[in-house]
């Protein structure tokens, strides 16, 4: 049996497998040009750093946002006229006609 095992090992070693092709490296670690990276690249940012950046950006925006206020006109009472004739009207109920 031991001879058979040895013979089997010898036979098995006759079947050789090829080495990995060079294209495998390219498939696992593809080379990217810098401008391709602009489209497909990604940046890993730790959550606390990302949150801190967001909070800081929000704070800066709040501090620097333009304050929108109504345009101010100088107040003048020049066009005011006193009421010349008062015509009071007494309304007795809500059912009235116009």
């Amino acid at each position: 049996m031991e001879t058979n095992d040895q013979k089997l090992k010898e036979l098995l070693q006759k079947w050789e497998a090829p080495s990995a092709p060079s294209s495998l490296a390219q498939r696992v670690f593809p080379r990217q040009r810098w401008w391709q990276w602009l489209w497909t690249g990604s940046i890993r940012v730790p959550v606390p750093v990302g949150l801190a950046v967001l909070v800081a950006a929000g704070g800066l925006w709040l501090l620097n946002r333009p304050v929108v206020s109504a345009p101010q006109k100088p107040v003048s009472l020049a066009d005011f006229r006193p009421v010349e004739q008062l015509e009071p009207r007494i309304i007795r109920s809500t059912n009235y006609e116009h």
């Binding site: 050789e16 294209s23 696992v28």
Partner: protein, 169 residues
């Protein structure tokens, strides 16, 4: 594992992973796809490898085995039966290497993977058990059956001049 360590691991183990996949599938394209998947998963999740659970080589070969198994299942070529005898006609081959290759690939997948890991990749029984997710005793039994099958299939090549073997009808 940083980028340089990943590249080093790739250079160190790419041939073992590719060879295993090639012997399992018998196809260069499938072997390259499997090896690519194995290393890409390591690149995406380097923490998936835990050094305390064994060597990186055994881990990668286990991952390659899972990829091959997934492929076989998709192609419905994964036969879970372990006791199958193989149907193999050695006299169809004059070239010993081709005959050995065909005989190994005729083994049921569970026997085949155990035999390839043991005979070609020199993994220990413990490492094979880890890679194929089975008990050591089960691995031993699969290896025993695989060797029995191969001895039977390659019996004509045990003779001094296998070229004289003629397959009888």
């Amino acid at each position: 594992m940083n980028d340089s360590e990943l590249r080093q691991a790739f250079e160190q183990h790419k041939n073992a992973v590719y060879r295993f996949a090639w012997r399992m599938t018998g196809s260069s394209e499938a072997a390259e796809d499997i090896a690519q998947e194995v290393f890409l998963s390591l690149v995406r999740r380097p923490d998936s490898y835990d050094p305390s659970r064994g060597s990186l080589r055994a881990f990668l070969l286990g991952a390659a085995r899972n990829q091959a198994r997934k492929r076989f299942r998709e192609e419905q070529r994964w036969d879970v039966l372990e006791d199958d005898d193989i149907a193999f006609v050695p006299s169809a081959y004059v070239d010993v290497a081709a005959a050995v290759g065909a005989a190994v690939q005729a083994l049921p997948p569970l026997q085949r993977e155990a035999l390839i890991l043991a005979e070609y990749e020199d993994l220990s029984l413990e490492e094979i058990a880890g890679a194929v997710e089975a008990e050591i005793g089960t691995v031993k039994a699969r290896l025993h059956r695989a060797r029995e099958n191969l001895r039977r299939a390659l019996e004509p090549f045990y003779r001094p001049n296998p070229r004289t073997v003629v397959h009888g009808n």
